[in-house]
Amino acid sequence: MRLNRRQFLATSLAGSAVALAGRRVAHAQAETLRIGVLTPLTGGGAVYGTTMSRMYTLLAEEINKAGGVAGKQIQLFTEDDQTNPDAGVRGARKLVDVNKVHAILGTWSSAVTLAVAPIAVQARIPQFCVSSSPVISTFKDDDFLYRTAYSQAVIASVYATTAQKLGFKTAALLILNNPYGIGLGDSFPDRFAKVGGQVTGKVIYNPNQSSYRSEIQQALAGKPDVILFGGYTPDGIQVFKEWFQLGLGGTWMGPGFAFDQKFVQGIGAQAAEGIIVVEGAPNLQSSAYKNADKLFRAAHKEEADFFAAMAYDHLMVVALSVLAAKGDTAGDAIKANIRKVTNPPGKVVGSWAEAAPAVRAGEKINYEGASSAIDFDDNGDAKTDFGVYRIKAGKWALDRVIKFGELQTS
């Protein structure tokens, strides 16, 4: 290939520009703790992903103001996973290859978490998620994948325990014909029997029907004390619209992701009144939650929910692990310190102001999180408590908290 003078000049100029830019990036990389925030800002998880993304930003600001992590400022790189595995993988690749992040936080959908996990494992950086698929526990992640949410494997026990505590002796199921609904239908009767309950009927429905009246009547036929709903928001709106308009009564119980704000808007506060919602509960008494709530309220005039609390915990755990590793941001160094700072024994801490001086002084700490105690088991799962809410005037009102330890899980 022959170059004329002008081409040669242009090429060498461009080359040196790249070299300069590269050096600047390398310089910057030495100084910051780079965190990849990969949450859904669009799609089905947008509400949760937006809340989480806000919390990461607020906590990063707080830690940076206090001098950063071992002298390193936290730098957030945000990508929208669109609640879609393809977009999640594209976002994760960009975070790993271009931004060279030290951890990926925030995947919400199980499909996205499992699609992104191989990338994080290959890059040897920790990933923190809020997904509920049981597969995440058993995934071969070389201990790089952590979750702060509950696994669906325990959710049947949660419903059974909740029903028992609320004094329900009989229950029926109305569940969607998909792996989630059928899985719940298979596991709940056994769990409910263990706490002395009895299932009066199990009705499986298909989505996109012209009517759900027959299914609803069948579910109510045995006059159960409570009906467990195993579906999502879109089909939930249709089923509950028809249920209310049948006027047959009955008490319903189901997951927070089905009975969310969109659901309440969809069927109206009157029809939603009294529905029992079971969802992960923030660790309300912890200093971590109090701090997370303070930050979130100051910025957004809303209380920090379970998802904001989980986001707070993700970033706290990573920052404390890096601090415990004396500023080493390598994935293996972070991983080696995660359980050291989160699990007992040690000094119980919740906010950066409490925790950082203790770690710097070389004390063993036990981070008590905003979403749960944040004690990770061998699978990287934290054990969350559950909140039982009742919908009152269109809002979730906390009825009681069910501790993880109260569940009959075997």
Binding site: N208, Q209, S210, S211, S214, P234, I237, K241, Q245, G266
Partner: protein
């Protein structure tokens, strides 16, 4: 003293009858919605001689047009529904005329493929304008009127009445008017009808108008009872075609019968078979009927 065995048997029988009545009412509601789609589909098949896959999307058009007047512009539901039907006619009829009557294409298969394209265009146009989320009319939920085991809200009664009136109207139009005779004549023998001097183009315009009118009314009622979403028509393609085929496609009366069979069999089957299979049961019934009466329940032997 507990109830004697005779009382128990009577109680069980009462309960069974109650359930049967409830399922029959539900089946009639489903059939009403299907019939409003299937009657028009069958009519267009008879006259235009192809299967218009985009037909159920006219239902969706009616629902969205009504939503625009009712929830966006804030008009009362009744006026919105009438304006919504007008809106669906203003969009649906020119689209059908352009895509099916004016293009220099006549083959059944070609028109079928064009109609699949029309269906995609209509749905994506709605997606573009209204987005993909579930929508509902700005009307309050209703408590039902209860007559023994029969429980119906005013919307559901409206659904039954509107479906019956519209289908009866089509019957009168086909049997009592000059236009009806022309349509039936085209359906029997299009070439001969044209030779005899009938205005086939005008008749086809009338046919598309009737078809879109019935479908959009069905879509509005569907939206009133459940929800509005871009795929609401597409999700009904299979049951509506099944009802039309069962009735002997091309025969609007048959389509009504087909809708009744599909709706009732589907709901009755839940008495003995899990509800998750009810659609499959309805199709099994359709396959069985067609084995013995291949030209539809009301088709000639």
């Amino acid at each position: 003293m507990g109830a004697g065995p005779r009382d128990q048997v009577r109680g069980a029988a009462d309960q069974l009858i109650g359930e049967l009545v409830h399922l029959t009412v539900t089946g009639l509601l489903v059939a009403s919605l299907l019939a409003l789609g299937a009657v028009g589909l069958s009519l267009t098949f008879g006259v235009a001689r192809f299967a218009n896959v985009a037909h159920p999307d006219f239902m969706m058009l009616g629902a969205y047009a009504t939503f625009a007047f009712n929830a966006l512009a804030g008009l009362p539901f009744g006026w919105s529904a009438l304006l919504g039907i007008a809106g669906a006619l203003l969009v649906g009829v020119p689209v059908a005329r352009l895509a099916y009557d004016k293009l220099p294409v006549t083959g059944t298969v070609q028109l079928l493929v064009i109609s699949i394209g029309v269906s995609f265009i209509l749905r994506h146009a709605v997606l573009l304008v209204f987005g993909s989320s579930l929508l509902q009319f700005a009307v309050p939920l209703q408590r039902p009127y209860v007559w023994g085991p029969v429980r119906l809200t005013v919307y559901q009664i409206l659904t039954l009445v509107v479906a019956a009136v519209l289908v009866l109207g089509v019957h009168l139009l086909l049997s009592r008017t000059r236009l009806g005779r022309t349509l039936r004549a085209i359906s029997d023998n299009p070439v001969l009808t044209e030779i005899a001097g009938a205005d086939v183009s005008r008749a086809r315009l009338a046919m598309w108008t009737i078809a879109v009118l019935l479908a959009s009314a069905g879509g509005i009622l569907f939206g009133l009872n459940l929800v509005i979403q871009p795929n609401m028509g597409w999700d009904l393609v299979i049951p509506i075609f099944a009802a039309a085929i069962l009735g002997g496609i091309g025969n609007p009366y048959g389509a009504l019968g087909g809708a009744l069979v599909i709706g009732l069999v589907q709901e009755w089957s839940t008495l003995v078979i899990p509800a998750a299979y009810k659609e499959a049961i309805a199709f099994t019934a359709m396959a069985l009927c067609l084995m013995f009466r291949p030209r539809g329940l009301w088709g000639g032997a």
